[in-house]
C-alpha cells in the first residue's frame, strides 16, 4: 500500500539554509548542499527546498545552486521560490526537479498553475498556501512575499488553485512555523475535507506524535523544518530523520 510521506522542508536565504519562527527570525542552520547530502543518505521520502527571499526580491530561482542540489538527491525534490513563468519551471524540471511549488505568482493569477500543469502534468505542480489566525481566531490568507494577510478567503484561493491544475496543496500554519508545539489539526481537517488532491501539512511538528496526529486529521503528507534540523531545548543544529521502520510502525503502513 501507498505510504504517507514525511518531508523535510529546507529554507534558503542568501544561499544558506535557515529556519524561521512564525515566518520571521531566520536562524542560519548550515550549508544547503551538505544538508541535502545528509537527507539523501537518510533516504528521506521527498525533499522540499523553498527560497524564501526570491519572490520578495523579485528574483528568479538560483539555478546554479539548484543544479547542485539535484546532483545530491536521489529522491523526489520539490523547489519553490521566485517561479514566475513556464520557462522558469521548465528550467527547473530540466535540472532534475520533480515538482515545483508556487505561491506568489499563484496569488496574482491562477494562469501560471494551468500553464505549467498542462506542460508537465498536475502531479508536478504544488501550490503553497500560508494561513494565519487573526485577533479573532479567524484563519486568514497570508502572503509570504509581502508578509501581509490578504482579504481573499484562503479556502477560496486553494479551491481555485486546484481547479486551475495544482496537483497538491502545501498548507502552512504561519503561527505554528518553527515552534515545534504541535500542528494545527483543526486547519488540516478543514482543508483535507475540502480538497480532492493530496495535502501536505506544515507548521509546528515537533515530534513523531505530531506527525501522526496530522495524518490522522487527513493530511497525505507532513512537511517539517525545525523538527529535522534542531535538537534539544536549546535548538542546537543537528540534522535527523526517523528510521524507515520507525515511520512504518508509527504510521501504521505495515
Amino acid at each position: 500500500m501507498l505510504k504517507h510521506r514525511v518531508i523535510p522542508c529546507l529554507l534558503l536565504h542568501n544561499g544558506g539554509l535557515v529556519k524561521t519562527r512564525k515566518f520571521g527570525n531566520p536562524k542560519y542552520v548550515g550549508d544547503p548542499i551538505n544538508a541535502i547530502r545528509i537527507f539523501n543518505d537518510k533516504e528521506v521520502d521527498e525533499l522540499m527546498v523553498l527560497d524564501i527571499t526570491a519572490s520578495r526580491e523579485r528574483r528568479e530561482p538560483n539555478y546554479a545552486l539548484i543544479e547542485q542540489f539535484a546532483g545530491e538527491c536521489f529522491m523526489p525534490l520539490c523547489y519553490g521560490g521566485g517561479i514566475r513563468t513556464v520557462d522558469h519551471a521548465s528550467r527547473l524540471f530540466a535540472l532534475g526537479m520533480e515538482k515545483v511549488c508556487l505561491q506568489t505568482a499563484a496569488l496574482e493569477s491562477p494562469k501560471l498553475i494551468t500553464a505549467i500543469s498542462e506542460r508537465v502534468g498536475s502531479q508536478s505542480v504544488l501550490v503553497s498556501v500560508d494561513v494565519k489566525k487573526n485577533w479573532f481566531g479567524k484563519y486568514e490568507l497570508y502572503s509570504a512575499a509581502s508578509g501581509k494577510t490578504l482579504p481573499q478567503s484562503w479556502m477560496k484561493f486553494v479551491r481555485q488553485a486546484v481547479a486551475a491544475g495544482a496537483g497538491e496543496v502545501v498548507l502552512n500554519a504561519v503561527d505554528r512555523d518553527g515552534t515545534m508545539q504541535g500542528m494545527d489539526l483543526e486547519l488540516i481537517r478543514e482543508a483535507s475535507a475540502a480538497l480532492p488532491v493530496p495535502l501536505i501539512a506544515m507548521g509546528g511538528a515537533g515530534s513523531l506524535a505530531d506527525i501522526k496526529a496530522a495524518l490522522d486529521a487527513g493530511a497525505s503528507a507532513v512537511g517539517a523544518g525545525a523538527f529535522f534540523v534542531f535538537h534539544g531545548p536549546h535548538r542546537a543544529v543537528l540534522i535527523t530523520y526517523p528510521r524507515y521502520h520507525e515511520l512504518e510502525t508509527l504510521l501504521g503502513d505495515k
Partner: protein
C-alpha cells in the same frame, strides 16, 4: 555508452546523474543518428502519451528507435511514460504507441465496491519481482520505489510481467520482453533501490 533519449519530455538530468553516480558512461541526445552508437538505451518520459508519441515521430527518433530495438536488438529501458510508449496504445491518447510489447496502457479504475483511491498513484510503493529476476538482483523484498502515474500497463502475456505493485489491485510495475524492459516507477528517484536496478541494467 548508455544513451538517454531526449525527446523533450522528462527528467533527463536526474537519470544521467544517477548513471554517473554508479560509474556508467551516459549521454543525453536528441539526435537519431547517435542512437545507433549506443550499447544500451534509456527512454525516459514524464507527461502525456500523445505528446510523447508525436514528439518521437516529429524528431525522427521513432524510426531510429525501431531500427535499434527491433532491427539490432539493443537493450532499452523505458521509464514511466517511456514504458507506456512501448505498448500498442494508451487510454490516455489517440495515437498508436511504439507497439514493441504485447500490452496496452489503461487508466486506474477501481471497483465500486472498494474505496476509491486517489489518482495519480503518487508516492513510494513496493515492487514484487518475479522469482530469480536479474533485474532485481540484490534488491531486498521490502523495497520501495517512487511512482507518479495515472495510467498503468496491462500485459497480454503474464510471463512478460517482471514485477507487480499493488494500488487498489496488482498492476505490472515492470515488464521484460527480450531486449525491452519498462518500469513504471522512477529508479532515478528511488534511493539505493533504484540505483541497484540501474546498476543491474548497466551490468546485465
Amino acid at each position: 555508452m548508455i544513451v538517454i533519449v531526449d525527446y523533450g519530455l522528462g527528467n533527463l538530468g536526474s537519470i544521467a546523474k544517477m548513471l554517473k553516480k554508479i560509474g556508467a558512461e551516459a549521454k543525453v541526445t536528441s539526435d537519431p543518428r547517435e542512437l545507433k552508437q549506443a550499447r544500451k538505451l534509456v527512454l525516459p518520459g514524464v507527461g502525456a502519451f500523445n505528446h510523447g508519441m508525436s514528439r518521437l515521430r516529429e524528431t525522427g527518433l521513432q524510426e531510429a528507435l525501431n531500427e535499434c530495438i527491433i532491427g539490432n536488438g539493443i537493450p532499452i529501458l523505458g521509464i514511466c511514460l517511456g514504458m507506456q510508449l512501448m505498448t500498442r496504445r494508451s487510454e490516455e491518447g489517440s495515437l498508436p504507441g511504439l507497439g514493441w510489447v504485447k500490452a496496452d496502457t489503461r487508466r486506474f479504475r477501481f471497483a465500486e465496491s472498494e474505496p476509491a483511491l486517489k489518482v495519480p498513484h503518487m508516492g513510494w510503493n513496493e515492487a514484487t519481482p518475479r522469482e530469480g529476476s536479474t533485474w532485481f538482483a540484490g534488491i531486498e523484498k521490502a523495497n520501495r520505489f517512487y511512482f507518479v502515474h495515472s495510467y498503468h500497463v496491462v500485459c497480454d502475456r503474464p510471463e512478460e510481467v517482471l514485477s507487480v505493485t499493488r494500488y487498489g489491485y496488482d498492476f505490472a510495475s515492470a515488464f521484460e520482453c527480450d531486449n525491452i524492459v519498462g518500469v513504471q516507477f522512477h529508479p532515478e528517484k528511488s534511493h539505493r533501490f533504484g540505483m541497484a536496478l540501474l546498476k543491474n541494467f548497466v551490468e546485465i
